[in-house]
């Protein structure tokens, strides 16, 4: 997450920029041919290094609204509306930052979170199938979807959590999975890329994750070594880093924000492509091939950007997970109070 003070400054800058009525859309998914040549590392690999964020796409749905059909990009009018909405949010954030008492909502103030810096052009993160929707599910996929939805509705005041296991892996500070760690969410969307000869490393701010990707064409680890983030192998195709990841644990995280969504299977093969298309932008692409869950592979694509002053902070989730403690102890206290009321009757 960016520094608070910096956030305020950014808001000011954003206000100025947006009110200039000049809509600058985010980078297109399929970049036109450019004369810009990406730099190379001292040892000759395409240089992807830097700290990137997917903030611009935090409000873009993964699946496209059906009404938009096969239209991937927003119209100029829609873009202008998005820009106006961002400007309104920025103004509200600024007002709250300057006069916190003016706030009426009960949630955290808007400026605690992060906002898109420019309106995203896409109507969905899914670019293939062309309708921007996940392909039909297998029977197993449908079963898992149903179970996920049942669990999501389970935590009502009438059905308080029986244990931490009623919460997802992200709330439990365990992981968001490989896909969930880079898909945009409402805050802390930073990924720092560091390269060495033979390796690319992705550091994800949220949940304090690290993925180390060897480039030496070694085989995957044995089938019995399973993990949340999977086993990644990378290579360069031209200027594009291609990462193939397998060996996932079964039925843990899904292809969704913060690792939510339908939990993937142990057959999942994730292929990611990182292409630096200008000094501050990487076009990121993810192909999901999970034949036990989806009837055919599908693809997500969006740009991630380097932003001035944006840096990663330590995300110490588990150490400060007081919400877990409070939620469980609150549930038990309410049960105890209810039992005592019942006794008195």
């Amino acid at each position: 997450m960016s520094h608070r003070l910096l956030a305020c400054i950014l808001v000011l800058v954003a206000l100025a920029a947006v009110s200039a009525a000049q809509v600058r859309p985010s980078a297109p998914a399929a970049p036109a041919a450019k004369t810009w040549t990406p730099p190379k590392t001292a040892w000759g690999d395409p240089d992807l290094q830097g700290t990137y964020t997917s903030d611009d796409f935090m409000d873009t749905p993964i699946e496209r609204p059906v009404a938009l059909g096969e239209r991937l990009y927003l119209t100029q009018d829609e873009l202008a509306r998005e820009a106006a909405q961002l400007a309104k949010e920025a103004e509200a954030d600024l007002r709250e930052a300057v006069a916190p008492d003016a706030r009426v909502s009960t949630g955290p103030p808007g400026h605690w979170g992060e906002r898109a810096r420019r309106p995203p052009r896409q109507t969905s993160l899914i670019v293939d199938p062309p309708n921007g929707r996940m392909p039909p599910l297998t029977n197993e996929g449908q079963k898992r979807l149903n179970a996920t939805e049942a669990r999501q509705t389970a935590l009502t005041p009438q059905r308080p959590p029986a244990s931490w296991e009623d919460y997802d892996l992200y709330i439990r500070c365990i992981t968001r999975g490989a896909a969930g760690s880079i898909l945009p969410s409402s805050y802390d969307n930073g990924t720092q890329i560091v390269q060495a000869p033979g390796y690319v490393t992705l550091l994800h701010e949220k949940v304090h994750e690290a993925r180390i990707i060897p480039l030496d064409k070694r085989p995957h680890v044995g089938q019995n070594v399973r993990s949340y983030l999977g086993d990644s192998r990378g290579h360069f195709e031209g200027n594009t880093l291609v990462v193939e990841t397998t060996n996932f644990l079964d039925n843990k995280t899904g292809i969704g924000r913060n690792g939510n969504g339908i939990p993937g299977s142990d057959a999942l093969r994730l292929v990611e492509r990182f292409t630096r298309i200008d000094p501050n932008t990487i076009q990121y692409e993810m192909t999901i091939d999970d034949p036990k869950i989806y009837t055919k592979p599908w693809k997500i694509s969006f740009p991630i950007t380097q932003e001035s002053g944006y840096e990663l902070f330590e995300y110490t989730c588990h150490e400060g997970n007081f919400a877990m403690f409070n939620s469980l102890s609150g549930a038990r206290a309410e049960e105890k109070a209810a039992a005592e009321r019942a006794k008195q009757k």
Partner: protein
Amino acid sequence: MRSRFRDSIITMAAAVLIPVLPLAVSSAAGQAPAPGVPRLPDGKPNFTGIWQSLGTAYWDIQDHSPQAGPFYQLGAIGAIPGGQGIVDGNEIPYQPWAAEKKKENFASRLTLDPEIKCYLPGVPRATYMPFPFQIIQSGTDVVIVYEYRTANRVINVAKQREPAVDTWMGISNGHWEGNTLVVEVTGLNGQSWFDRVGNFASENVRIVERYTFADPDHLDYEATIEDKTVFTRPWKISVPLYRRKERNAQLTEFKCVEFTEELIYGHLRKQTNK
């Protein structure tokens, strides 16, 4: 005979070649550069690789004898091996109150040790835990990823960074002194321990680490610990780090949070009717 002859030719060739290589730069600290260590194109030693400390400092950074573990059911598996410490002179110069606190930490270690709860390990503890860690060294910065809890930190070499808030892993800023990577760690929150027996520092601690190749497969690791709140003088630990040589060695994910939830939240689980 023939292979020995070839060896001697190689040795002779090496003797001629080695002085030509750009590694004969003696360091500011005065240690001779280790021959044959991997280097980046800019000539800096390349620490990229998987490293691990051996020994038993993870249990106690001072000299210690073997003893039974806290759970008799685990028998020999749960017993604690003895070993030589890694503290120079073996003495940790605690102020009197701090020596008392260390004893209290030890007595309550099963509830207080952050490692038991899978908390981030801090520095320098992460270095000599019984898990490997991987260094990824770019031309500019250095990343260390520890297998334990996927703890990680960036050592900022190109551009130094001020700690904005205190954290478990702190902020690491590095610079080169000859062939040694010197890392200053500040902004630590003082909540991590040095080992499983409760050795500790405060949030005012400043740690200066030194990473130097002893030979291509061994690093000399040193850390000087300064904390006027807790100690009467700076003190130092020294421990060798061994390169993991297994073919295709890699870190294995160890997400221990889920192994601690029953311990931390178990008393808040809904009791089913008995």
